[in-house]
Assembly symmetry: C4
C-alpha cells in the first residue's frame, strides 16, 4: 500500500537536489531523471513541488512515465484535500462570457476559431495560432484564394451534387482531409481519436501527426470500416527509431500511406509561441511515436520547436534540434524509406515547381502536398495557390503523374473549390480541425467538416458542376494571382536548378 | 358572433398539441396546420400562444390565411386590452436618436441606407443587408465601379441633358430600374405598391419580385398610364404552379416582360441573415405568387432562403429547397417557357461571357441581366463590370443582339454612367430601393431615384454628353479593371465550354 | 442724422412682410429686395431681424449693398450696446486649444490645413475642404504623385539651385502659382489682396478668381513692380456681362492673361458643403465681378454652387444655375472671346489628351491647365498626373505648342518637381493658399509658398538639377501610374472623338 | 585649487552679457565663445546658468571643450549638493512601465525598437526615428522586401550553414554590417565603441560615422584581432579639413576602407526631428572628426542637419549648410580623394542604375552602397531593392566589377537573404544598431546581430543553401516589385544621361 503525502510536504522538494512532482494523483521523485529529460531540466524544475498533471497530460502520450522512470520513483499518492485550488485562464478571458455558444450557431471557420480561442488555454492557443516571423505567409495562404474569382454558370441542372472522390485509390466522401497537426489533446481531451471519429462520420481522410498526443494504436482503435488514415513521418537522426516506427505503423492496416514532411527541416520562428513560453507552451514533449526516453520532440504541431535564437555558441539550439534529421536528400532518403515500408509515399512541403517536377519523376512518390507548413516555416514562402499555378505554367504534366494535394489557408468551401479547379486532388485543414476540437471536441471537428462540405456543395452547384472531377480552369479567374507568380525568365543565373536536378534524375531512371 | 378571448387564455395554447396564434385581432387554432407549414412547424411554435401579426404580416400577402386554413380554425377575436405591450428594437438602436432626418437631408445612397438602418427592424435589416459568406462580391460590385475613371470633356454645350431611353422598346425616363427584391413590406407598409408609385413619378421600370409581399394585382393597381413593369419568375419544381402564375400575369397588361432568374438555383450562405434567425428573419414565408398551401418560398429578396448547413442526412435542407427548381437547362426551360407566355424573356444572372454568348443566340431572349444576385449567391463571383468587359473582349456582338442590363453595386450617378459607357442599356437597384422604402416609404424610394437621376445628369453634362446613347468607351478609363478580367488563354482545358455550347446552338438554329 | 435703433426693435422685423437686417452697424429694410435676391429670399429670411454682417461680409465685395438697394432702404444705425453677444464656433472646436501655433512651427501643408481648420468657421472649412461625391478624385490628385518615384543622382554640383522660370513669357521666381479660388475673405480679412502681397514676396503668379471677395482693382492695388496676375473668367449666359468684365480687366495692366475655366459647366456635388448649409455655407453670394443685381453666383471657390438635387420639375436648380453659361463650344466661344480681349488665353480644365490636342491646335490658346477643379466637379475624373502621361503617350507635341500647367493635389515640393519632370511648366495651389490665409492671413500664404519653395529646391538639389528646365523624365519612375493610364486600343467604338475633332480643326486651319 | 560655486550663483549668469554653464562638474564662462559657436549662440543661451552636461555630453566628443575655450574660461567647480534634481522624460512615457524587458525577451527588431523607444530621450528618439517628409521612402525600404517571396527547396541537406563571406577581401562572419549613423552616445554611453565591441563578437564590419560621438581612435581602441572598420567621409568645403582627417585615419590600421557618402549633399526634411527642436534634438554639435572650432556639423546620423525652410533670403540656411561640400563631381572629387588616401573607396548613396554603371567604370571604386540615406534625404526615392533590380535589368555586369552593398529597411533575416539573392554582397543596418544600443548598450547591439544572424541562418537552411554565395535569383520571386521598376523606354528625352556620362568616362579610360 502506497504512502499518502500532504501537498505541503511535496512542495518542499522543489530543487535540483530533490525534485518531486505530482502526476495523476501520484507523487514521483524525478531528481535522477532531470539530466536526461529531452527538454532539459529547467522545465521540470519550474513545476517542481507542484501538481504537474495539467501541464504534463496533454503533451505526453500514455506510457511515457512508465517508460522513462523506474517504478521505485513512484513514492506514493497525494492527499487530494491538501491540493491548492487551481485556476485556468483561457486565451480570451472575457468575464462577460457565459460559456461557449452552441455549435450550430458557429456558421463559419472564423466563428469556430473565435469560440476555440475562448476555450483554449493561452499556451495552446499560442501554439496553434502562431506562424513564422510576421505571419505574412499564414495570411497570404488565405488571401491568395480570395484573389481568385469564381465563374458561376447558368442553366445547369444542379439537382445532384457529390463531393466524393478518390485519394490514392481510396474512395472518400469529401476532398478535404485533416492535415497532420501535433498535440491535439492540448485543445481537448478527445484528442486525435476524436478527430478520427469526426472524419469517420464525413468519410474524410486523416493524416496523423508524427507528434500526436495519443498513440498510433489509440487513434485508429475506433476506426470505421474502410476509414483511411495516413501517417506523418519526420525522419529521425537516429534512423533506427524511424525504422522502428515504420514497423509499428505497418502492423496497423488503417494507415494506408506515409506523408514524409519536408517543409520544416529546421523550425521556423514563431513568436506568438515564443512569447507564451513562461506559461508553458514551449514545454518539450514526449510524443507518442518516439521510442525510448532519449528522443526529443517539441510542441510544434508538425515539427520540432526550438528556442529560436541559438546562443552564439549554438549550444542550446543544437540540443533542441536533436532528433529531427536535417540531412534528407533525394539521393539517400527515398531509397532508405522504400526499404522500410510498403506504403505509398506522399511528399509534403513542396513549394516550387522545380521540386514538384523532380518528385513527379520519382516513381515511388504517389502524391505531393503543396504546403508551407501553415506559414510556420519560412515566412514569405509562396502559398499553395502560387505553387499550383507555377506547376501549371512550367510543368503541367505533374498533375498527371502524381496526385497534388494542398494545405494552408482554407477557410471557405469556395477556397476548396478554387484549389480543385487549379488541379488539386484534395485540400488539407490543420488549424481548423484543432480549433474545431478546441471549440467542441469531436463534435467541433464534425462542425468544421459539415460547414466546409456544405459550402463546397453550394459553390459546386452555383458553378453548375455535379462532380469534383468536372471542376477546371474554366471555372475560375486567376488574373490577379497570375501577375505575382514566379517568372522564370527573370532568372538570369543560367539553367535553373531543377533542370540540372531533372537531368540527373533522368540519367538515373 | 365570434367569441372574445383574453390573452391569458390564448397564451396557454403554446404547444404542438394545441397551438393558437393571434393574427389581425383574430384567434386561430393552427394545430392541424403545423405539419404542412412550408417552413416547418418550429417557426410557428416559437410564436405559439402569442400575437404573431407583426411577424406574419410583412411576409405573407393577402389571402394566405384563408387559402391555408379552414374557416373553422378561426376561433374568435382577442380582447385587445388584454394584450401585453410590445417593443420594437430597430437595427441601430441609439437612444440619442430623435427620429429620422428629413429626406431632403439625405444626400446620397449611403445616407439613405444609414437612415433606413435606424428605422428597420433588426431582422429586416439583416435580410436586406446580408450577402454570401464574407461579402466579398457585394463589396466588389461597388468597388469595381470606383476603379473606373471618367474622362470629362470641355467645350461641350451641356444646356440640355436627357436620361430618357428605351427598354425592350418601351420609353422610360431614366436608365435605372428597380430590380426584383422580395418582401418590401418588411421595410415599410407601402410595400411594392409604394415602389411602383415612386417609379411612376420618375418614369422608371420596376421588376416585381416573384416573392413580393403584395399580390401582382395590388402592385400594378395604381399604375400610371404607360408605366412599365416586369415580372420576375422563379421556375417551380411543380411546373404547373409556374404555369398558373404565368397565366395570372398574362391578364395584367402592365407587366411587359418576364425576368427569369438564374443566378440562385440554390441559396447562397448569408450569415447576417442566419444570425438574426432567432428574431425571425428566416421565417419561411408565403409569397403572394404561390398557388396552394404546399408551395414554399423563403424570405430571400430574390430566391428561396434555406438553412445553410443541411444536416448530413440532408433532411431539413432538402425540405427548404423544395419549390424552386434546380434543374433548369438551356435545352428544356426556354422551350417550356415559350409555350406559356407571349412576353419577351429576360435572363437574369449571367456572370460569364460564355453564357452571355449562348443567351444572345437564343432568339426568344430579348435582354440579359448581368447579375450576381447582389452578392447573395456565390461569393467571389465577378461583378457586372467584369462581365461587361468580358463580353467586350470575347464576343462584343452580344451588345447588338440583346439588351444588356446590369445590377449590383450602384451607389452613384457616376456608377450608372460607367455601366452605360461599357454597353449596358439599364442598371438596376435593389437594396437601394428597399432602403429608400425603409427610410421613408414611397417618398424614400422617390428620393433614391431623384438622387440617382440628378447625379447621372451631372455626370453626363460633365462628360459633355446630352443623351445616354452617346455614352461610350471613349468616356471611361478601365485600365485598372481590365487587368483583372478573365483571360481565355489561361484556360488550358481545351476548347472552352461556350464554344462547344455555341456549336451546339448553331447546329440547332 | 440717422435714427438709432435698439436691437429689440429690429428683431421684430423678421418676416417676409417686414424684413430688416443689420449690416455694418446700419439697419436696412430689405423687404422689397427679397424677391430679387440671387440666392432666393429664404437665405435672407433666416437672418431677418438680426445682425447679418458676419455672414454677409466675407462673401460680398464692397459696393454690393449700394448697387442692390436704394438709399432709402437704409433706415438708420443700431445701438451697439443692445446687440447680443455672439459666439463663433470654429470647425475643429477643441476646448484645450490655446490659440494657433506660430507659423514657423507649421512645417508642411498638412500642418497648415490643420491649423486653418481650427481657425476657420465650420462653413468656410466645409466650403474649402469639400469635393465631389466621395472625394475620390480629390484624394487621387495627391496619391497619383505619391505613386511616382524620384531618381536622385550623385556627384552633381548642387551649390546653386534656382526655381526661376517663365510663364507666358513673364519671369517668375517659382514655378508655383496661386490657382483661382473664390471668396478668400471667408478665410481671413486679408482676402485676395493678402494673397497678392504674399505672391509679390515670392515672385509668384496669382490667378484671381472670377468670384473673388474683393474687386479686381482692390486686389492689384498694392501689386509689386512687375508682379503678374491672371484673371479667371466664367462666361456668363448674358455675354454682355462678361464683355463688360473683360473691358474692366483690360484697364488693369497687372492682369497679363485670361484663364477661361471649363471644368465646371455645371456644379459638382459637394456634400460637405451641402451639409453645412444650415450654418450658411451655401449662402448665394454677390461676387465682386458681377454687374448688376440680377446676376448670381455661389460660393464655389471657382464656379457656381447649387442645390445638388434639383426638384424633379427642375425649377430651383435651374434658377441657381443661372448666370454661368453651360453652352460654351470650341466653335463659338474662342472667336467671341478674341473679339473682347487682347490678353493671352489659358484654357483651364483639360482632362483628356483629346482636349489637350485640340486646344494646342488653336493658335489663340497659349497655355492649358490640366485640372479637375480640385476634385470638385466630376468625381473619379483623372488627376493631372494622368493627363500629363496621356498627352506624353498620344500627342507629346502638345508640350511644344502650348504651356501646360497643372493644379490639384500638390502638397510637397517633390510633387511640384514630379509635375515639372512630366512636362508641366507650372503648378497651381488653390486650397493650400486658402488654408494658408486661414492659418495666418498674408503671412500664412507666405508660409505656404516658403515651404513649397524650400522643398522644391531640396528635391532639385538631390536630383542634381540646378534649373527647372533640366527636370525631365529621366528623373522619375512612373511605372505604377503608367499602368493606369487610358489606353486607346480599348476604345472599340471607331475613331476616337478627338480624331474627328482634330480633322475638323485641321480643315479650318 | 579651484573655486567652488553654488548653483544659485551660476544661475544668475544666464544672459548674453554673462553666460556661464556647468559641464562635468566645472563652471565655465562661455560668454566670449557665444558668437563663434557653430550652432549659433541661441542654443547655448537656452542652457545659460544651468548644468548643460546632459545636453552637451552625448553630442560632443572628448577634447571639444579644451579645443574651443581657453583654460581661463574654467572658473571653478560646482557644489553638487546645490544642484536641482533633474528628471528625464523618455520618448514613450508610460507610468505603468517597470523598466526595460530582458534582452532575451526581445525577439525581433521591432521589439528592440519598441524597447529603445521607452529608454531613449524624446530628442534622441526623434533624431533616430525621423525620415524625410512623409516617411514614404523609409517605409518603402522595408515593404519592398516584403513584396518579394522566397522559394524554399526540399531534400537539401541543411546540417551545415555558414553566413561567412568576404567584404573587400576581408573575411567576415556575417554579411551584415553596421552602417554609419551619427552620435551613438545619444542612445547610450557605450557609444560607437560599444557597437565596435558587439561587432567584434559577431565578426561584423562597422562603418564609423563621420559624425561619431567618440573619436576615431577611441572607437577602434578595443578592436579585436582582425576586426574590420570602415570610415565614413563627408567631404568638407574646406578640403584641407578633410585631408587632415584622411591623414588621421591613415594612422589607424583598423580602418580598412573609406565610405564616401553622396546621398545627402543637402539635408532632407525630417519633421519628427524638427518638431523636437525645442527639447534639444537640433542642437548643432561638435563632431569628433572636425578640426578646429569653426567647423560645423549637425546631429544628422549621417549628414548635416539644417533648419529646413531657409528664410527667403537664404541666410540662415546657408550658414547651417556650411561645412559639408555640395559641389562634389565625378570629374573632381575622386581624383582629389585618391591623392589623399590609399584605402579602397566605397561610394554610398547610389540610387539609379546610371550611377551604378558610372561608378563601376571607375577603377578606384571597389564597392558601391545602394542607399537612400535611410529615407532621410529624398522622400519617394527608390528603395535599394529597386536599384538592385534596375542594375540587373540595365547593366548586370556592375555586379562583377564592384561589390554592391545595400542598406535601409532591413528588419528580418529573410530581408537579408533577399538582398543577397538579388546580388548584394552585404547589407547594412543603421537604425537597428542604434535602437539596439538604446535598448541595452553593447549587449543590445549584440542582440540585434544575434537575431539577424539566427534568422538569416534559418532562412538559408529552409532554402536549402549552405553558403551565402549560393543564394541567387532562383530563390526568390520578385514579380510584384519588377512591375514597379524604372522602365527605360518611358524616357523620351533622347539618350539617357548615363549614356552620355559613360561615353565621357570611356573616352577617358
Amino acid at each position: 500500500m502506497s504512502k499518502v503525502f500532504d501537498y505541503e510536504e511535496v512542495a518542499k522538494h522543489n530543487t535540483a537536489e530533490s525534485c518531486w512532482v505530482i502526476l495523476y494523483g501520484s507523487v514521483w521523485d524525478v531528481t535522477s531523471f532531470l539530466p536526461s529529460h529531452p527538454g532539459g531540466s529547467k522545465i521540470i524544475l519550474q513545476l517542481a513541488g507542484t501538481d504537474a498533471t495539467e501541464e504534463y497530460d496533454p503533451i505526453h502520450p500514455p506510457g511515457t512515465l512508465e517508460e522513462s522512470l523506474p517504478s521505485s520513483a513512484k513514492l506514493g499518492t497525494i492527499d487530494p484535500d491538501t491540493l491548492p485550488k487551481t485556476e485556468t485562464a483561457p486565451a480570451d478571458d472575457d468575464p462577460t462570457d457565459t460559456g461557449p455558444p452552441p455549435l450550430e450557431d458557429l456558421l463559419n471557420l472564423d466563428d469556430i476559431e473565435e469560440a476555440a480561442t475562448k476555450q483554449l488555454s493561452r499556451k495552446a492557443w499560442a501554439y496553434y495560432f502562431s506562424a513564422s516571423d510576421d505571419l505574412a505567409t499564414k495570411s497570404h495562404n488565405n488571401t491568395a484564394y480570395r484573389q481568385i474569382l469564381l465563374r458561376p454558370r447558368i442553366f445547369r441542372d444542379c439537382t445532384h451534387c457529390s463531393t466524393a472522390t478518390t485519394l490514392l485509390g481510396h474512395s472518400v466522401n469529401i476532398p478535404i482531409y485533416v492535415a497532420p497537426a501535433a498535440m491535439a489533446r492540448l485543445a481537448h481531451p478527445d484528442g486525435e481519436a476524436g478527430i478520427a471519429a469526426a472524419c469517420a462520420r464525413f468519410g474524410a481522410v486523416q493524416v496523423v501527426s508524427n507528434n500526436a498526443s495519443q498513440t498510433p494504436e489509440q487513434i485508429v482503435a475506433g476506426a470505421a470500416e474502410g476509414q483511411v488514415f495516413g501517417w506523418q513521418l519526420y525522419v529521425q537522426t537516429e534512423r533506427a527509431k524511424s525504422e522502428a516506427m515504420l514497423a509499428r505503423i505497418a502492423k496497423l492496416p488503417a494507415y494506408k500511406f506515409l506523408v514524409l514532411t519536408l517543409d520544416a527541416p529546421v523550425p521556423g520562428k514563431r513568436e506568438h509561441d515564443e512569447r507564451s513560453k513562461n506559461i508553458g507552451a514551449n514545454l518539450p514533449i514526449r510524443s507518442s511515436v518516439q521510442e525510448g526516453s532519449a528522443s526529443t520532440t517539441s510542441p510544434d504541431p508538425e515539427a520540432a520547436s526550438a528556442k529560436e535564437i541559438p546562443a552564439p555558441t549554438g549550444g542550446v539550439g543544437k540540443a533542441l534540434f536533436a532528433g529531427t534529421a536535417p540531412d534528407l536528400t533525394w539521393a539517400t532518403t527515398l531509397p532508405w524509406l522504400e526499404k522500410h515500408t510498403t506504403l505509398p509515399i506522399v511528399l509534403k512541403g513542396i513549394q516550387t515547381h522545380e521540386d514538384a517536377y523532380i518528385a513527379s519523376r520519382h516513381p515511388q512518390v504517389k502524391a505531393i502536398v503543396l504546403s508551407n507548413h501553415g506559414g510556420r516555416a519560412m515566412d514569405t514562402a509562396p502559398p499553395a495557390v502560387h505553387t499550383l499555378l507555377e506547376i501549371r505554367k512550367y510543368c503541367p504534366d505533374v498533375f498527371e503523374r502524381v496526385e497534388v494535394w494542398v494545405d494552408g489557408g482554407i477557410k471557405r468551401g469556395t477556397d476548396v473549390v478554387k484549389a480543385l479547379c487549379l488541379g488539386a486532388k484534395a485540400v488539407g485543414v490543420g488549424r481548423a480541425a484543432l480549433f474545431g476540437l478546441g471549440a467542441g471536441g469531436q463534435q467541433g471537428v464534425e462542425r468544421v467538416l459539415e460547414i466546409l462540405k456544405a459550402e463546397t456543395e453550394t459553390a459546386m452547384r452555383l458553378l453548375g458542376v455535379e462532380r469534383v472531377e468536372e471542376l477546371g480552369l474554366q471555372h475560375i479567374n486567376t488574373r490577379r494571382v497570375e501577375q505575382e507568380i514566379y517568372d522564370g525568365p527573370a532568372n538570369l543565373e543560367g539553367p535553373s536548378l531543377w533542370e540540372k536536378a531533372s537531368t540527373a534524375i533522368k540519367a538515373k531512371l
